[in-house]
Subunit: 177 residues, 2 copies
């Protein structure tokens, strides 16, 4: 990464009580809007990855980082989406997240056995979303070779939860909090 | 573009009656999942653009193309989102789309006067979504230098509607239908 940890953190803004009371939301909009930090973050996520066949992005903010990572790696992009958004037949799984619960879906034909898959998201919080994405990839035999995120909210224990659910899964975070 | 028009169109699948009865949805998932076509589409969208300061992506599928275009152009990325998703103060505008109506928001501090902005989306249908994005950019003095889309559904008249609402706006579509 050509930018310092501090230069990146300076473009992440705490927003209290969003989306619900008591939650401090880390807004990455200023980082995305600044060309130097946006490019540096994508490049750093790419550098953490070996060769992969597909990159998974999780709706919706996850798309913003996962798609350029896929582009740079020369991999296909597969969206993991909320219910009702994907037009074809899907697999789905439910998960708990920092504030509430949700369901995620992926197209049934998105992965073939042996596909090497990198999951990219903006934030690792409780790990529920990431674990759901891993389950969806593995449903049809895809192999998740890593999870890469911009921010890790360490106090929420996502890394430990993922290690329990998916032992050995490499987890990379650019900016731990 | 290194791939032919036919090679790209072969990876776009018609899904009847999605999201509502009578609508034929063009699913670009197979195109995104194929590395060669995904890279070719992003590169072609980049080639249509001059230098810009920011690239706007429209939630959610628009993010998948707009983010790598921003990355390749070395521009900042600004998301235009559905209500309640952006944590900071926003501008908003309502618009009609192919099936229903909706509201879009952008952060108030996203653009500065004189910013050159490219809007990227997956589909140009009636033009309502694109016109709404243009209004949001212009609200704070940003200058939309072009709209680039993967698919244009010509029979819905979006290009003419945009020409009426925003005379002189360059509109590029890779694959007209």
């Amino acid at each position: 990464m050509t930018l310092s940890d501090g230069e990146l953190r300076a473009r992440i803004v705490d927003v209290p009580d969003f989306p619900t009371a008591g939650v401090v939301f880390k807004d990455i909009s200023p980082l995305l809007a600044d060309p130097a930090t946006f490019v540096a973050v994508v490049d750093a996520l790419v550098e953490q990855s070996g060769p992969v066949d597909k990159v998974v992005g999780i709706e919706a903010r996850g798309f913003i980082l996962a798609a350029p990572v896929a582009y740079h790696l020369g991999a296909g992009f597969v969206p993991v989406r909320k219910p009702g958004k994907l037009p074809g037949p899907t697999h789905e799984t439910s998960y708990e997240l920092e504030y509430g619960s949700n369901v995620l879906q992926v197209h049934r034909d998105a992965f073939a056995p042996g596909d090497r898959v990198l999951v990219v998201d903006d934030v690792l919080a409780t790990g529920g979303t990431a674990a759901a994405a891993v389950r969806l990839v593995e449903h049809d035999g895809g192999e998740v070779v890593g999870l890469s995120v911009l921010l890790e909210l360490g106090f929420l224990g996502g890394r430990a939860a993922l290690a329990k659910a998916h032992p050995g899964l490499p987890v990379h975070a650019l900016l731990p909090y």
